[in-house]
C-alpha cells in the first residue's frame, strides 16, 4: 500500500514537472507588412489567434497560424490576401517548428529580458523552408513573452504577386511576432 502511494505521488510530481516546463498561448499575435514604397496604402494584416508552445526544458518552439484569421482594415484586401496570394482555402495553416539555438542563457525562473536566436522550419502556402530569426524572451511574473521581427521573401513560399500590382506589393514581408505565454498546468 505504501509503495502504491509513493508511486502515485511520484507520477503526480513527474506530471507536474513536465507541465511546468511548457508555456503556451492560443491568442498570440502575428502581423505582417508587405507595403512597398509604391503602395498606395499600407498592406498590413493582423492575426490574434496564434497558438504557440515553448518547452523551456528543450527550447523547442512551435507555432500554428490559421491564415483565414488574418484581418485587414479593408475587406477587399483581405479577400485578395486569401484568394490570390496565400490561397487560404487550399493552405489553411502556417506552421513553425523549431528551437532556441543560441543567445543568452535563459533563466526561466528569474524575471529578465533575454536575446535569443530561433531556428526551425516554416511551412506556408504548402512550402517548407529553414528559417532563422532573432528574438526576445521576456520572463516576468511567471509568464514568458516571445517577440521577434523578421523578414521572408514571398516567392520562397510560392506566393506570386500579379504583374498588374507587382510594384505595389513588397516582395519581402516583414513579420512581427508577439506571444504572451502562460504556464501549462
Amino acid at each position: 500500500m505504501k509503495k502504491l502511494i509513493i508511486c502515485i505521488l511520484a507520477l503526480f510530481v513527474i506530471k507536474n514537472t513536465t507541465a511546468q516546463d511548457k508555456f503556451f498561448t492560443k491568442s498570440g499575435r502575428i502581423s505582417f507588412d508587405a507595403t512597398s514604397p509604391k503602395s498606395p496604402e499600407n498592406i498590413e494584416g493582423m492575426n490574434k489567434t496564434v497558438t504557440c508552445v515553448l518547452d523551456t526544458k528543450t527550447g523547442n518552439l512551435q507555432m500554428a497560424v490559421l491564415m483565414k484569421a488574418f484581418e485587414f482594415d479593408r475587406a477587399l484586401m483581405q479577400e485578395h490576401f486569401n484568394e490570390n496570394y496565400v490561397e487560404s482555402n487550399k493552405f489553411p495553416k502556417t506552421e513553425f517548428r523549431g528551437a532556441i539555438v543560441a543567445g543568452t542563457v535563459v533563466n526561466y525562473g528569474k524575471d529578465g529580458v533575454y536575446l535569443v536566436k530561433v531556428k526551425g522550419k516554416l511551412t506556408m502556402h504548402g512550402q517548407t523552408k529553414e528559417v532563422e530569426a532573432e528574438g526576445k524572451l521576456t520572463v516576468k511574473a511567471g509568464k514568458i513573452q516571445v517577440q521577434s521581427v523578421f523578414s521572408e521573401q514571398l516567392a520562397d513560399y510560392g506566393v506570386t504577386i500579379p504583374q498588374l500590382v507587382a510594384d505595389k506589393v513588397a516582395k519581402t514581408a516583414k513579420i512581427t511576432v508577439d506571444c504572451l505565454l502562460d504556464p501549462l498546468k
Partner: protein
C-alpha cells in the same frame, strides 16, 4: 459631328465614368460586414463542429472554412487579451478541445460579461482548425463573433 451629337455621346460617357469611380471608391474602402447582419450558412453544436473537423479535416474545411456559423454550446471559459479582445471558449470542461470564439472587437460591441456554464449560441466566421498536435487540445476558431442575444431583430 455636331455639338448636339457630341453632347449626346459625352454625357452618358461621363455618367458611366462617375458611376465607375464611385463603385471603385466604395469597393476599395469597403469594410468587413458586421457578423450580426449575416445569415449563418450552418447552425450546429460545438460538439458537432469539432467532430466534423476531427473526423475529416479536409471535408470540414470545404464545408465550413470562411463561412458564417451559428454554434451552440456551453461557455467553458472566457478571457481578454491585453488589447481587450474577448474570447469565449465553448465546449465540455471534461475535454481540452473546444470552439474558440474571438468576439467582435469593434467599438460599441459590448459582449460581456458571460457566466461560465451558460448555454449560448454564437455566430462567427470559421477561420479553421488546429489539431491537437501540441498537447493543448484541438480547436475550431470563429472570428468576429457575436452572441445570439446581440443579434439584430
Amino acid at each position: 459631328m455636331s455639338k448636339k451629337t457630341i453632347t449626346r455621346i459625352l454625357i452618358p460617357v461621363l455618367v458611366l465614368l462617375v458611376l465607375g469611380a464611385v463603385y471603385v471608391y466604395r469597393e476599395f474602402n469597403r469594410k468587413a460586414p458586421d457578423t450580426a447582419d449575416l445569415t449563418p450558412a450552418y447552425e450546429l453544436t460545438g460538439t458537432q463542429l469539432l467532430e466534423a473537423f476531427q473526423q475529416d479535416e479536409k471535408k470540414a474545411n470545404t464545408l465550413y472554412l470562411g463561412k458564417v456559423l451559428a454554434v451552440t454550446g456551453m461557455i467553458k471559459s472566457q478571457s481578454s487579451d491585453s488589447a481587450g479582445v474577448q474570447t469565449l471558449v465553448i465546449g465540455d470542461t471534461a475535454f481540452l478541445s473546444s470552439v474558440r470564439c474571438i468576439m467582435n472587437g469593434d467599438p460599441g460591441s459590448v459582449t460581456g460579461p458571460f457566466s461560465t456554464g451558460t448555454r449560448i449560441t454564437i455566430k462567427g466566421i470559421c477561420t479553421g482548425y488546429n489539431a491537437d498536435d501540441m498537447g493543448l487540445g484541438a480547436d475550431v476558431l470563429l472570428n468576429r463573433s457575436v452572441p445570439q442575444n446581440l443579434l439584430k431583430p
